[in-house]
Amino acid sequence: MLQSKSFVRKTKQGKVVKVVREHYLRDDIYCGASICKVCDSSTARLSPSASTILILDTNVVLNQIDLLENPAIDDVVVLSVVLEEVKNKNISVYNRLRTLCSNSMRKFFVFSNEYHKDTYVKQMAGESPNDRNDRAIRVATQWYQSHLGAAARVLLITNDRENKRKATEEGISAETVESYVKALGQPGLLDLLVQPAPEDVGMEEVEDLRPSKRKVIYSEHKPMSEITSGLHRGIYHQGKLRVNRYNPFEAYVGSESIGDEIIIYGRGNMNRAFDGDVVAVELLPQDQWQEEKSLSIADEEDEEEEDVHLVPSSADDAPRNTDLAQGSVGGTKAVLCRPSGRVVGIIKRNWHSYCGSLEPMPMPAGNGGIAHALFVSKDRRIPKIRIQTRQLGNLLDKRIIVAVDSWDCLSRYPSGHYVRTIGEIGDRDTESEVVLIENDINSRPFSLQVLACLPPLPWSVSSEDLANPCRLDLRHVCVFSVDPPGCKDIDDALHCTTLPNGNFEVGVHIADVTNFVHPGTPLDDEAAQRGTSVYLVERRIDMLPKPLTEDICSLRSDVERLAFSVIWEMTPQAEIISTKYTKSIIKSCAALSYIEAQARMDDSRLMDPLTMDLRNMNALAKVMRLRRIERGALTLASAEVKFQIDTETHDPLDIGMYQIREANQMVEEFMLAANVSVAEKILKHFPLCSLLRRHPSPTREMLEPLLRTAAAVGLNLDVSSSKALADSLDHAVGDDPYFNKLIRILATRCMTQAVYFCSGDLSPPEFHHYGLAAPLYTHFTSPIRRYADVIVHRLLAASLGLYKLPTIFQDNAQLTSTADNLNYRHRNAQMAGRASVELHTLIYFRKRPTDTEARIVKIRSNGFIVFVPKYGIEGPVYLTPRGEKGGGEWVVDEQQQKVKKMDGSISYSVLQTVMIHMEVVEPQPNRPKLELALICR
């Protein structure tokens, strides 16, 4: 079976080491064509009717992956040499290609030519690795042609001129992508093509439409060798570039070598780097570090004004505080001296495809239908992208996806190509899809493999479950659930009974999802990948398939369900005497909504057992809540809004602030308690591989905007600890009732988000949850919609000895990356949720221009930012028309946080109440936006 051959490879690892790897050549690698009579065709992927089989050169895969993803291209053989090259050059293209190869709908076959005895080629003396790989591709193509004979034509697609020439010489049929696609006769496909670089063939077909006098706009990137030696000698610094979400002309590079963030101002200094690129940065001379003062957003020619957006719910959502005022308040001069730099080279590109629309432009005359257009990404961090299209008229009012190909230093914008159309701009479905794509959310239906993991329906508790000694039968206990109205995926239920000794037995019952989702199954992999359910205004994207979330796992009333329970014995003072963890069977006697539960508790005539239980629980919850607040837990306010959606059109009918009742707080209190109890249990058993959730304390710098605003209204906040902050928030009472809530909302946006982590990665003091003032916390209570809870369920089950721990927990690196993925997915889900609310706010106001009250939260040189409590949004109000640059008439008083008219007649100060008018306007066709305007008193 083994055909062996060893060969020599060389690598460099600082030291020169000769590496020797064996390389076995085989005779059991098949061609994948189902028409082939010689090969084992059980693994064949290519269609039997294929008249032409395509073999791709590496450059084609690297540049034209968008084209390959189009179903028009099929019956493709992917050589392992090509896969390997693609993997080394661009991992994301590699992953997309791999997805194509494993997609059963597509006919992409991987041929391991490097291991086939007839197609393996050895590097010849004087032959570069590149030339060797090209030769390997040709040899494999030739092998296919002679292997399949007349049954099919084998066509090499290459854009490498040299490779094409040699192929033709050797009698292989070869074509460029352009000519192949042209021959297919689908003009739409041509837009998907990447503009060929000058050294490739086919250049003569593309005329340069740009002005002939091209100036150098950006400085040349330094060659890699110089970058490496520069990094080595400490004159350059390496890091990932992050562009400010709210100001795309400002970016940060976290550098380990100087232990601080380097700020990069302006596109010129960013030098063609995209958000997420790994770059090499050179520090500017220290006297240029204060450039931030002079360089405001408005100086750049293609300024975009700030949009109306939702109130940030944490520091991560909020604009970075780059306010001009920063230096003068509190005398923190150090802030000014943040090092600033410029990008000298890009070590690793993070280019992918982007969602957006074309900049409105007139239809070009003639020109064979080819137009050059500018694409504006929805993500403001991304610069405009120049594309070529033959269907301009079609695309102008559409949301489209565009991929970046290159960015020449002569060109102001990067160039890219059209990938696909999502739909019409402003259309709710289109925009919702944009939200999903932007946030990397997989909304595809579950695959058959995933659905195959579900238990057959209708499902009911089996006799084995009942007989299982590990499962506590709690069907006789009065268990109930309290959720938002209309909730179908009920993952928690409660009970509370009075014990003879006067204590209470309180149980929290969580849907036993891990009884159905087993590690290593496609279902589990999919859930792990999705990480969380995503709640948009009009729809929900589930982490698990519907039969599980809404039926089998959902703890609905009057049906027997499996649960994982935490049961405490508590004194009437809510002191926990004992904690029991067990799998259980429950039968919920009522699925209440918050409103119903609240009504029952409030109605003093009701004395039925359920209501009594509710009241007992509520009493306990109040004690627990008080104790938690005394410990220093923060009660922060959020400006969450709730839409009423028309069931027919799915258009929003009404919006309003989300009302929080005692019943909500009661359920929340017990969920927190359960999470804390579980966190303690799993950490005790698995100190190194528990999944916990922590909330880092905010730094002084992050709280700066809050302190500044508070100082301006004469309020002194103590932020030395969460307890101190909570107390001073309690004492922050102004003359109007909303003042306190407003301060809390401002405080909320200064906090970072809580994150999941693996307990082995950090030391116990770092486990602390700042917001809850808890030393330990995790997520246990929502396994239907959060994968973290699924992991925690497994940990808890293992700590009870019910199951053994899945293998992933033995691999710290894997667990850490799982936690990272969960954080990423959670953050994206949140962003998507917010974007969806913003979208619906826009749709709502489209037909309803409104006057309302707003509060000033930040002062700007030409106006201020207001917060609209009723709708939970904030946005800019301009005092001077845009374009006049705010000069002259208005002056900003930094100390007082005020903006005054020159003559002193009118002034606005922070937190002041103003009346505004809200209306959707269309400054450019198809670009609706919400505008806030001051109504003068």
Binding site: V17, E22, Y24, S102, S112, Y115, T807
Partner: protein, 241 residues
């Protein structure tokens, strides 16, 4: 890192259940009583056996059985980056011990009381699985020296990467940090005499991995038997009719 491609091939082109190419040769050291050369892919070792002979250090003599000693050494050039290997470092001592115990278990030591048998193994090139290769070489050398044994001992390793059990890990796979199960068996008696593993592995997977390693040992045993048979034929031929 991907150690098994979706096409089911390992980095060096093997399938998960395949061993590297093995080669064994008897009689590499002229002056030794028995010697052999054994290679598993790029792992190459030489074993030499001296004895049974008089015990050098009288205090070590055992009255009812033979004294078996073993020394494992690695050549300076045996690994990728060259270094001067100090003699008797911890690792060599440990492997020496493992080999000695494994071989001692199959030598009929009671037939050779008050004598000494020395087994020396020299690694010429290391590319994963050196202990297995050493044991296989030592078996051949002992057989060449005509030392009475219960059975052959053969050894092979298996690991678990990318959720796939892999037979006979090479250096790259070995240094991936996954579990590495080294098994030694007495093939005729169907007994495991050596079992080492250096990572956590759930029981059921461990069972599969160990079973795979045992299969590998059996394949090696067949090969070693062939080598011995061929060698005997040669000897017979040289002796003449």
């Amino acid at each position: 890192m991907e150690f098994v491609s979706p096409e089911g091939l390992r980095l060096d082109g093997r399938r998960p259940m395949e061993m590297r190419q093995i080669r064994g040769e008897i009689g590499a050291v002229a002056k030794a009583d028995g010697s052999a050369f054994f290679e598993m892919g790029n792992t190459k070792v030489i074993a030499a056996v001296y004895g049974p002979r008089e015990v050098e250090n009288r205090s070590q003599q055992i009255s009812d059985q033979a004294l078996v000693r073993c020394e494992y050494t690695m050549a300076n050039f045996s690994t990728g980056d060259r270094m001067r290997k100090p003699k008797g470092d911890r690792r060599s001592t440990e492997i020496s011990l493992v080999i000695r115990q494994t071989m001692e278990a199959c030598i009929l030591t009671h037939l050779m009381p008050r004598s000494q048998i020395d087994i020396f193994v020299q690694v010429l090139q290391a590319d994963g699985g050196t202990r297995s290769a050493c044991i296989n070489a030592a078996t051949l050398a002992l057989a060449d020296a005509g030392i009475p044994m219960r059975d052959l001992v053969t050894s092979c390793s298996a690991g678990y990467l990318n959720s796939t059990p892999l037979l006979d890990l090479n250096y790259v796979e070995d240094s991936a940090g996954g579990p590495d199960v080294t098994v030694g068996i007495l093939p005729k008696l169907d007994k495991v005499t050596l079992l080492q593993m250096d990572a956590k592995l759930p029981m059921d997977i461990f069972e599969n991995v160990m079973q795979l390693a045992i299969e590998g040992c059996k394949a090696i045993a067949n090969y070693i038997r062939e080598v011995l048979l061929e060698n005997t034929k040669q000897l017979e031929y040289r002796r003449g009719p």
